[in-house]
Subunit: 410 residues, 2 copies
């Protein structure tokens, strides 16, 4: 496999991609709340979207554009209002947003993608959206700073902006890929309001771009959960403009494998950043299932543990309440023998076994608490059935999660 090197930056790391942001005053006051991504050249695009039956207007808009096959040139994103459950009016606003962006950038209307995150059920203030677009168009530029500002502008209850970039070689050509995302509550992607935007200057066919993305989200975004609520707005967009100049990837060769490896690094990094910045959370909680019969079984077990409220509250309390972990595995629906399970806790403070064959070993509660007091805690459960593994990422359940969500709209 090729070498994937982390580099500074995010959505503007790849050649030809520019970004801008502005404080449009959509709902937040005195902070940037709109971002724009622009590519100098036509992009092939791929997307994965929420599986919620209730789909926000921008999700419907993007599905049409991405699956319809039009070249993509720009993405307009706003934070504060989700444009979900907004009826026909909401759909019309997507068209107006795309139209305003197309006119401002002199690109076709069907090359503009849109994304929104925030409160469900409010209508967008179109005058401010349009003013924001006009403000951003002349500010578009490459370089790290504009990418980072865009990543900050799309935050809602996020406490940190989230971006990552890598470079790698396809043959003798150096290719770059970078991304940004937001997501802090209503995070249980099945394909949340999770929004993620990944750009690359790789040349790759639209078909393979979508295949690579669709496969990778299963092991990355779809393996995180903050609160078990699958949003109406979840969107991952992947744009490839080909400006790196590599031979176009049109088959599943070694170049495709390296591309997928890079994509997985970007997506997993962004997904972990989201889980680690879940609303109110104090720790990233990682659950690895090993020794499973099938990957699907391992995934079901891992996701059941990271979504258990009781387990999440115990992690907040630095309490090695392993019974809740075993309990959550037990109600997951996946088959295993509870009396064969071994369980370990790991963190930067060390590693220790807690359960052997379904029963507690004689462990030190003090050492366990010490391990569980780190900002990144991992539970590893071995079900001793086979060779399949899976990892899921969540966070602890805290007072602040409740506080944030008891008065989110006010």
């Amino acid at each position: 496999m090729g070498e994937i090197r982390k580099i500074p930056g995010g959505v503007t790391a790849a050649k030809g991609f520019k970004a801008a942001s502005t404080a449009a005053g959509i709902k937040y006051k005195d902070r940037p709340d709109m971002a724009m991504i622009y590519s100098e050249a036509d992009c092939v695009s791929a997307g994965t979207f929420t599986t919620n039956l209730v789909q926000a207007a921008p999700v419907k808009w993007d599905k049409n554009q991405v699956y319809g096959g039009a070249a993509a040139r720009a993405v307009v994103v706003n934070a504060g209002i989700a444009n979900a459950c907004t009826g026909k009016e909401g759909m019309e606003y997507c068209g107006q947003t795309a139209g305003a962006c197309a006119a401002a950038l002199d690109v076709p209307e069907d090359s503009v993608l849109v994304a929104s995150t925030g409160v469900i059920g409010m209508q967008l203030p179109m005058d401010r959206i349009e003013a924001g677009i006009h403000a951003m168009a002349p500010l578009l530029c490459g370089g790290e700073e504009s990418g980072t500002k865009a990543a900050k502008a799309i935050m809602t209850t996020d406490t940190k902006h989230k971006e990552v970039a890598v470079e790698f070689e396809l043959g003798s050509v150096t290719v770059k890929m970078g991304g940004m995302c937001k997501g802090s509550g209503m995070i249980h992607p099945n394909m949340c309001t999770m929004l993620s935007f990944v750009t690359t200057d790789a040349a790759i066919s639209k078909e393979l771009l979508q295949q690579a993305l669709s496969a990778d989200v299963q092991d990355t975004y779809n393996m995180i959960s903050v609160d078990g609520d699958t949003s109406t707005n979840d969107t991952v967009l992947l744009l490839a403009n080909g400006m790196a100049g590599n031979p176009v990837i049109t088959e599943k060769n070694e170049d495709y494998a390296v591309f997928c490896q890079a994509l997985n690094y970007i997506n997993e990094t962004l997904a972990k950043q989201m889980a680690g910045d879940g609303e109110g959370c104090t720790a990233l909680f990682e659950v690895k299932i090993v020794g499973a019969d099938t990957k699907e079984q391992a995934k079901v077990l891992a996701k059941s543990v990271i979504t258990s409220s009781l387990t999440k509250a115990a992690i907040f309390g630095h309490d090695a309440n392993w019974g809740r972990i075993l309990c959550a595995m037990g109600y997951s629906g996946a088959q295993f023998d509870p009396e064969r399970v071994d369980l370990y806790f790991e963190s930067a403070a060390g590693s220790m076994q807690i359960i052997k064959d379904g029963v507690a070993v004689d462990y030190s509660e003090e050492q366990a608490t010490n391990i569980l007091s780190q900002p990144h805690v991992t539970a590893v459960a071995d079900v001793k059935m086979g060779g399949a593994t899976a990892t899921a990422w969540g966070c602890d359940l805290t007072f602040d999660y409740v506080k944030i969500n008891a008065d989110y709209r006010s």
Copy 2:
């Protein structure tokens, strides 16, 4: 249908049933933590148990006894330690508990049922269990007071004891039925640590008793959730000793229908008491789905809403954040048209429509907040597809839920 009249009392309301309780010091100090139920005559028994793959030792013990068909005479219950994930030792303790009870009461060992609730993974202190049994045996008596004390002794994080009783006629014979339960966290029964015990002096065949119970738990206990965690110890036991003297119910006749109606009243009342006393909660949150195509669809939609962390936090905040309700319906897996949904909020403070055809009506936020500030709040969603309905019961998500569960073991 017959008339079902609520009467004072609980598990000792029916003829021939006695109860006792004691402070055995199993884990709690200075409060009763063991209870015993005894029937003067042999009972036919029915039971439903957790579907968690991880099953506590007392669940395995009771399944053997109930499904094996032995007559039941007594139930021994302890709070504080769940006797789950305790291996062979845990199973041996069930046998020793039954043995000690049988000896103290002079009944067959296989007529003794056991139930435990509390921390997973700790072993029971058998010396205290046995001392508790010897203390309770001479205290057994009928009457309201002993039933109420038993209901208090089985509490863990519960803030209120839970019991109910009714009487009704089968032909010319007056029959009584009463029950008690506990359950506050790890409540998401699929057939929590929910424990429920219902006694009746009706005469009914074992087969019909189990059928009546198995059917009714689907609409009662299985429609409540506090935190989405299905316990390893969930148990409902229903004992019928026939001492009312009605003609034995052996077919699905009118008497059976009345019996089922009474059983539903007892189970629904106990289930709502549990949901309304969920860990840390300030409100019982009821969700009714009407106009569904099938009852199964209505149930899936109702349960998805009551288990949504975001919706539960909004209820705590008295925030009419209806988008979260529609969102939770959308990811439930059940099919419906989001653009046809009507939504109403109801409570003792009034009733109001919030959504019509998937979009917000022009409602007063102040009035909505007023309705949502009551201790029992109902959301009614009409999906306009057919005539099926279902109701689920949950509670709000509060600071105290997190507090209770971040340091439960300490």
